[in-house]
Every structure is written in C-alpha cells, then in structure tokens.
Amino acid sequence: MKFTLSWLRDHLETEAGVDEIAETLTDLGLEVEEVTDPAARLHDFTLGFVESAEKHPDADRLKVCQVATDAGVKQIICGAPNARAGITVVVARPGTYVPGIDTTIQVGKIRGVESHGMMASEREMELSDEHSGIIELPSGEVGQRFSDWLATNDPTRIDPVIEIAITPNRQDALGVRGIARDLAARGLGTLKPAPEARIEGSFPCPIGVTIDDDALSHAPHFAGRLIRGVTNGPSPAWLQARLKAIGLRPISALVDITNFFTFDRNRPLHVFDAVKVTGDLRVHLARGGETLEALDERSYTFPEGALAISDDRGVESIAGIMGGAPSGVSDETTDVFVESAWWDLVTIARTGRAMKIHSDARYRFERGVDPAFTRPGLDLATQMILDLCGGEASEAVEAGAPAIEERSYRLDTTRVQSLVGMEIAPDAQRKTLESLGFKLDGDMAHVPTWRRDVQGEADLVEEVARMASLTHLAPQPMPRERPGVPAPILTTGQKAEQTARRTCAALGYNEVVSYSFIDKAAAALFAGGNDASMLENPISSEMSHLRPSLLPGLLQAATRNMKRGQPDLALFEVGTVFSGGEPGEQAVQMAGILTGRTGPKDVHGSARAVDLFDAKADLLAILGGLNAPAKTQILRGGEGWWHPGRHGRVCLGPKKTLAVFGELHPRILRAMGIRTGAVAFTIWPDEIPVPRNQGHARAPLELADLQAVERDFAFVVDADVEAATIVNAAQGADKALIDDVRVFDQFVGGALGEDKKSLAITVRLQPRGETLTDAQIEAVAKAVVAKVEKASGGTLRG
C-alpha cells in the first residue's frame, strides 16, 4: 500500500514529519517498507536571478549569463532557448549532483568561456519530462532552496511517498483514511471529519439492478447511479500526480476517480458506459463457460459459481474483480453508471484464484471492505464526478442491503495486564478503542464496521497494546516449571542423531545439508521418483521429487565438488528421507560417501584409493557410537544401487537391516556423473534396538587371572568362502574356552590355484580356573580344524 504525505494530510491534521510518521506506522504494525522523498535529491538546488544574458562569442545557440546566486553573481553558460535576463531560475552550483543527467556539476570552460554552474530544466531534476527550456519561476528569492520554494508553492511535486506492508488482517489500512485513523489514535494528530456527500438525484435511474436469490449470500448489496452528460478526459493535475506517485497510470477522469476511492477509502468502484449497457443489470452466479474480455484486454472464462454482472446481452463484469472491456468507459463516454457494491470475501477469493486475476479490487474485497460504506462511497464518487466531469445525477438504485454483522465484545481491562503484561489505565484503554471507532457501551465494545478482523476479546487487547506501543513492554522472568536442575529433554533418537553426526565428523567426514527434493531421474535410481512423492508445483525440474535416500544428494554434492577440483571427498548427511507423500511417510537416515583417495599424494606413501573396507570401518565405528548390538551379521542382497558383489548389509537377522556399506553400482555412478569409484554407507538409526537395560550401571567386569594362549591356523578354501564362515566355525569349536577369533591374513591364487585362497586366523584361548595343559590346547586346536574344515570345505594349510 502506497500513499503520499499530502494525501495522508487530507485525513490527518498533524505537525509530524515524514520520519516520525514512518517510525510510528512501523510501531503500530503498519510496517514501512520504503519512504521516497523527492525533496531529498533537490536539496542542493537554489534559486537564482538572471541579471544579463549575452550571446556566446563563439557559439550562436549559447548564452553567457550573469546569474545572482546565494554565492554572489556567477557566470553561467546556458544553451536553453528561454535563457534571458530578468527571470528567476533554479541553479545547480559546482558540486551539486544533477540526477536527470547523472552528473556532478563542475567549473568548466564551454567554447573557451568559463561556466560556474548550471540552470536546470524539470527533466534534469527528474520532476517531469519537460526539457524545452530551463525552469522559470514566477516568484522566489535568490538563494532560497528550490525544495523550500516547491513546498510552499507546488507541494505535490515533492510529496514524499510512503509504502507500507499490510498484514492480511488490516483491511482498514488499505485506505489512506484508515491509516490516518491509526496515527490519530496513537496521538500523532487529529483525524479530520470524514467528507460527506448528499446527492439529490434529479431523475430516476434508467438502469435497474437485481440480485438473483441464489446469489444474495455472495452479493448482498449493490448500489448504483447514472450520471448523464459528463465530459470524460484527463483528470486534474493533482489527481494525476497522486496516482502517479503511488505507481498508477492516469487513464481518464472517470477511471481515475474510481482508483482514487480505492486507495483513499478502500472503496473499489466500477464505472460502466451506460450507453453500452443493454437493459438492466443482474447480479448472478455464473453457470460456467461464459466468456468476457476484461479491462486488462484479456479474455476470461467464468467458472461455475463465480459472481457475474450481466445485462440483457450477457456478462459485462467479473463482479468485485474486474470490469468488462465492452461496457467500459472511454473519452467519448457521456453517460456513466457508477457501481458501488459489496461482495462476499470467500467468493471473491475463490473466483480470483480460479480465474487467476490479480486486481486492486480483488485484493481489497477478499480482505474485506467496509460494508457500511457502500452507499456513502457511491455518493462521494458521484460528487467528485459531478465536480470534475459535470453532468446530472440520477436517483440511486440499490439492491439488497448492507451485510453488517453487529459484534461486540467485553472489554476486560485486566486482560492487557494478564495477557500482554502491560499496565494501562482502564480509561486510557477505553479512549484508545473509541479513537479507533469502537463504541463503548458499559463494558461492551462495539466493533466498527471496517474492522472485520476484530473477532474476540483478545483482539481488543491487541488494539490497546498496539496503540500503547509494545516497545514499552518490559521483560518479565518466566520461572522454571519446577525449581532445580533442568531435566534432560532430548529423546533417544535425537541423542543418537547427534552422536552419529559427531562420530562421523570425528572420522574425517564433512557434514552437508542438502535439499529434501531432487530431480526425478536421480530419485528413480534410488527407488523413488514416483507420483506419490512428486511436488505439484516444484520450483524447478531439479527439485521435483522428495528424496527417497540421502545418497543421490551426496553423489550430486560430490560431482559438484569434483568439478571444482576436489576429487577426494568424505561427505555425510543426517536427514529425513521420504517413502511416499503422506504425513509420516518419512524416516531419519544417515549416509556417508567416500570418493577418490584417502588423501593427496604424500611423503609417507600412505595415500591410496578408498575402498569398501574404509566405509565398513567407519560404519561400524558409528554403529558402536549408537550402541548398536555388538553381534550383527553381514549379509548380502541389498538394494540395486549397490555393487552386487561388493556390499554388505549389517543385520540383526535376515530381515532387520541396520545399515548397508559397499561400493555403489557402476551404472548408478555413471548416471550420476561420477567417474571415480565411490564407496558409501547408509544407516537407519531408528532400526537400532534400544538397549533393554536403561540403567547406568555396567555389567561387572570379569578379569581372568590366567594368561591367554593364542594359536594361529591357516586354511586353504575356495575363493568364494567368506571369512565369517571360518570365524564362526572356529568360534563354535569350544565356546567356553575360545575368547576371540581374528582373521589376520588372506592370500588369493598364486600357488594355490586361481579359485583358491588361504585365510589365516588367530584363535585366542582364555583359561579360567587353571592353566591349560598342552593336551588341552591340542584338543581345542583339533576341534577348530575339524569345525572349520567341515564348515568351509577347506583344509588346514600344511
């Protein structure tokens, strides 16, 4: 919402300057977005008097003028045709910035003659496009500031423009008068009496108006009147200046008058060329399919249930949103029918949305226009038309009646204290409400018709607090719910997320936060990209689907970094992934990827390409941090984006997967534009069972007194026998005695043959009670060999 200071002063008697007004508006909840003060850029221009003007010795069109200025008589060279002795002009002295030519004036020589300034045209000061000559002023003293002269003699030229943001509740502030009322209630001036008009029609209105019964709840009130014999044409300069100042293009007097009331009183109006209206006007619900070329020169089709205004020929106006072009006014219009109507907010909002029309009228009607001002608005507009365009007014026609909902709420003057925490005297509270237009009847506050947002007692508190200024609110300590040390507040899941994150960062990974939506192709690679997880209105095709996994986002991040010359990456994310488009179809996932080498080439020769055992080690470290059970199985058979032979699922039984690690499928990497290998892991933290023992006490520590014995074994097995098979078999040889089994060597092929490998293990025996004899050790060793050979089909290596 934009308005000018002088427009505001039409309604508000105030001494306050534009800065104070702007500050107050923001404090009142009418947040100022911008103040444009044209006087500011004219600040350095002063008045001068041309004492003499002689022809330039070397140029026919230039004159050498002696100009009286605030700094004495100065010589100025001027090319304007009207430069001559005896006129009062506007001077830019050296050092002055001239906005219209984007130049700071300097002393210079023009064709060999010195010039100490410039005499300005309107265009050079960005006052208008006028550039046929320099400004000649009818009055003014030498040295006087030009902006001061304008303020006295032509104030609209330097009228400051204020733009404020209007929150959806403040429909009353969509008119300048509403803004003035707020400022007056705050004490920044006095609200001037509202202008009134009483129009005595001299003949019956030849155009009748009816509202269909089924439309009456959507269009409860319509008032109109014909004015015949008007002369349309450009509106007066003051009106044009105001509309231009707030960014509207002046069209013609009739149209400008409707726009004026839209902004002055939040009262949208419409004018029909009465000659182009056939028969009477009928307000009705559209059947759907009717078409109309509207005033924006676009053609619209009415949806069923939209409000339309029709004459005998058909639809003429999209009610409350935009008039039709065929019945619009033009410079030739002589008879005008003025419409002032009130429409239901929800109907206008729905129709506007369905027809995709944004207009000042829709914007206002869907926020709520004062229903009591329909008829007064018609009369005020009529008066202005008579004043500016002449003509003769008919009697008014009205259909329906104002839809005024009498509302009143109890003013509990203690509520401001209990709800807001401000102490304001009851009398002051009542006075505030009265100055905002509320009528107080005992404890009951009757809401003015223009404040449809006030719907309860809390709203009265809000008005009182707002007017008193929330800047006066003093902080008041909020006691703890119970005294003492605060109880812990994080859930198990929240703690797990933090632990996982910091463990991963400690392992050398960099955390990323990537968008929850990705492109369809990438989502599809990870079992997503279906319609259920699709956005209806994505911001771009790269962000069209909710991510089914964190991996595609990490791979895209890796690609971007590789393009910036960072091939060795360790990235991770903890975040939400989506299995569908219903609330709750989401889960927390953690994922990490490693690409390239473990680091740059280094002097110790320790850098090497990353492999899945890096991912596995990191994954197990994180799972350890998350208190995952120590005993898990590593199974294959993960999703299709993993390398089929090079990944493992960390499971509690075949169906409960806690995490996956491995190489990503080469086809996936190619599709994602990654040329190096990439290994990754994903964790589902919510799948990790919560330990049954929630107490703090640890299990007792059992320390064996006797020394442990270690024995090494090497087995030759088929190349596809898994180490876990051998470890598990060895462990089963004597569950009481065998404390640990470790794989310490693997040798594939060579003398063993292509499809064979040797795996070496260390078995650690922990005697309890008494030292082991050689015979006992020998017996366990035999059992180990037997178990492993049976389970693996291999043999002990000789």
């Binding site: 869907e366 909020m478 209105n537 970094n561 473990t598």
Partner: protein, 359 residues
C-alpha cells in the same frame, strides 16, 4: 698380592673399550675361576686369624670390582647411545602422517551446530524438543493455525503442494511452510502445561538472493496458566543473550499472524557499521522473528481450553541466526555442499555446545 690384584683389575676395567672386554675381565677377576675367586677359595687353608683379616678384604675387593664393572658398563652403554644418536636425524619439517584415511578434518554443518546451541539454551528454560512430519495435511499446516481456506495468508506463503492422484479428492498435502504444525501435534499429544521448541526443515517456493526453497526454523511454544507476552520478551532476551554471548536487547513491534494475538515482530539490537552486523551493540534494530500470544482458535485446535490456559509462540530462522552469529554471508551456500565452505564455516566434532562453556 691383593693390592696387586686390585690395581691390575681396576686399571684394566677402566681402560676396557668394549662390553666384551669388560665381560672377559669380569670372568678373569670374579668368574668361577677368576683370580679373586681362587684367592677366596684359598681362605680355607689359612689360620683363623689370617682368615679374619683376609676374608673381609677379599669380599671388599670383589664388591669393588663388581661395582667398577657395572659403572664402566653403564658408561660404555651411554657412549654407544651417544654415538648412535649422532646418526639418528629426521627432517621434522616433513608433513605429519594423516589419520586413518589421511583426509583433512571432518566438520559439523553450521545448521546442526546452531540446532544444538538452541536446544542447549532452551532446555535450560524447560523446553523440550518436538519434531514432526515435513509433509503435512493442510489442516495441520493451515486450518489448525487459524488460516482457513480463503485466508490471504495461504496465498502469501508460497506453499509447495504435493501431487494428488486423479480421483483423490482430498485437499493436497503440503510441504510444511513453518514448523508450527508441530505445535498443534504436541498440544494434542501432551496438553497443557507445555514448553516445547520445534526445530526443523520448512519449505517455501521462493528462490533468490536471500531465499532458498528449503530452510530451517525453530519455533517455541509455552503454555501455562499465566504466561504473558512480557515472559516471551524475557525468554527471547535470555535466549539471544546466551546465543550471541553478549547482552542483547529486543524491540517488539505490533504485527499480525493468524495464529497469534496479539502478535509482534521482534527486532534485536545491533549496529551496522562498515557493512557488518554486530549484534548486541549500537542503536540499530534487525528483524529476526515473529511471535505473539497463541490465538484461542489455535489452542482449541490443539485440544486446550483457552479459558484455562494461555501462552506464547515464536518462530525464527536457524540458518538466519547462524548467519548473524557466525558472519556467513549467503544463505544459498548452506545447501550447496561446497567442501571449501563446509571446512571454513563448519565446526569440529568435539565442539559440542554446552551452557557451562558458553554455546
């Protein structure tokens, strides 16, 4: 004779140049067949009087030789070590060996760090952390928050809608435009009194210099018998003071949000000198959040009786306060995963925010 032995061995020990020579001397002197040992064996043949004199003398001699050998041995070892150390030298200016994988240090994203900072501060004031779905029904995202279907605020929120299959006539779900739906879910689940903060991702269809289609919000809600807007101001000033580590004043300005009444926009005190924002000093104000007293309709939607209970709510951008605190210039870079950015603005794994150390 004994004096001869003493002189002979002590001088030989003193001049021995290797450990082997020293061992030879030990054997020659006090070994089984060493001269001193033999002399001690001959004690038996002596008269008791002679023995009483010679015995202690021989023992003393043996001890003296043993000590001399030990001392010489230590001296030789020392010399050997010194000799070795003369050759042992490494170029210590070479780079150190990397960790497990040798890559540079890992980092925690600023959003995560600030998430933990916020929860640490609010936990101390009794706020629990509530979370909820990011795809929401329009009832939780709008209706329950006093934003009915036709409300202009719906259009102004740049909402992302989920696709609806043909024939599914339910209103489309939305990507939550704020974390406020979590308030409703928490009220429904826990009732009053209630103190929660709801941090999380939110979505708006807006992408330019200062907006990203996804960002992070933290929302606060406190419901009690007599919790007022003045309490809200105190809670926020306590929060900002703890968060920025310097006393921060706030300014409340009247505003409007459908879900609160009265509503206020909150500015924090700051200076803008030299193009940088410094919080907690100067006489400028920077808008950082929206807040107010929870609207009676919203309490009702959460199953709480507004005649019995009242309270405040506020919401602010996590990314935004992270930018302010850590001087991060561009919001869009938060989600770009540029390694250089992550390393520069990220936090070490061990930098866990705590109140006792200051967040």
């Amino acid at each position: 004779m004994m004096d001869d032995l003493r002189t002979k061995y002590l001088s030989q020990i003193d001049t021995a140049s290797t450990e082997a020579a020293l061992e030879d001397l030990r054997l020659a002197a006090i070994g089984k067949k060493g001269e001193v040992s033999l002399a001690m064996r001959s004690l038996g043949k002596m008269t008791p009087e002679e023995r009483q004199i010679e015995g202690p003398r021989l023992n003393a001699l043996k001890d003296e030789i043993t000590s001399a050998i030990a001392a010489k041995k230590a001296a030789l070892e020392d010399a050997a070590l010194e000799e070795r150390l003369r050759h042992e030298w490494l170029d210590v200016t070479l780079p150190g060996r990397g960790g497990a994988r040798g890559v540079a240090e890992g980092s925690v994203h600023p959003v995560s760090q600030v998430w933990e900072e916020c929860t640490a501060i609010f936990a101390d004031m009794g706020f629990r952390v509530a979370e909820g779905p990011q795809v929401e029904s329009d009832w939780y995202n709008f209706d329950a928050l006093n934003i009915p279907d036709h409300h202009p605020a719906r259009g102004e929120m740049d909402t992302f809608y989920m696709h609806r299959a043909a024939g599914d006539d339910r209103p489309p779900h939305v990507l939550r435009t704020h974390t406020s739906p979590v308030q409703i879910r928490s009220m429904q689940e826990h009732g009053a009194p209630l103190r929660i903060i709801c941090p999380g991702r939110v979505y708006r269809a807006d992408f330019d210099q200062t907006h990203t289609p996804m960002f992070h919000q933290v929302e606060g809600l406190a419901i009690g018998r007599d919790i007022s807007m003045a309490n809200l101001k105190w809670v926020l000033e306590e929060f900002f003071t703890a968060f920025f580590g310097t006393k921060v004043r706030t300014r409340f300005r009247a505003s409007h949000f459908p879900f609160t009444e009265p509503s206020a926009e909150v500015d924090i005190q700051c200076s803008f000198e030299g193009g940088t924002v410094k919080v907690g000093e100067g006489d400028g104000w920077l808008e950082v959040l929206g807040s107010g007293m929870v609207h009676p309709h919203v309490l009702r939607a959460g199953g709480i009786d507004p005649d019995e209970w009242q309270g405040f709510a506020f919401g602010m951008g996590i990314d935004r306060i992270a930018m302010l605190k850590y001087g991060i210039p561009d919001l869009r870079a938060f989600f770009d995963s540029d390694l250089r950015w992550l390393r520069h603005y990220g936090f070490s794994a061990l930098q866990v925010p705590t109140l006792r150390a200051g967040v």
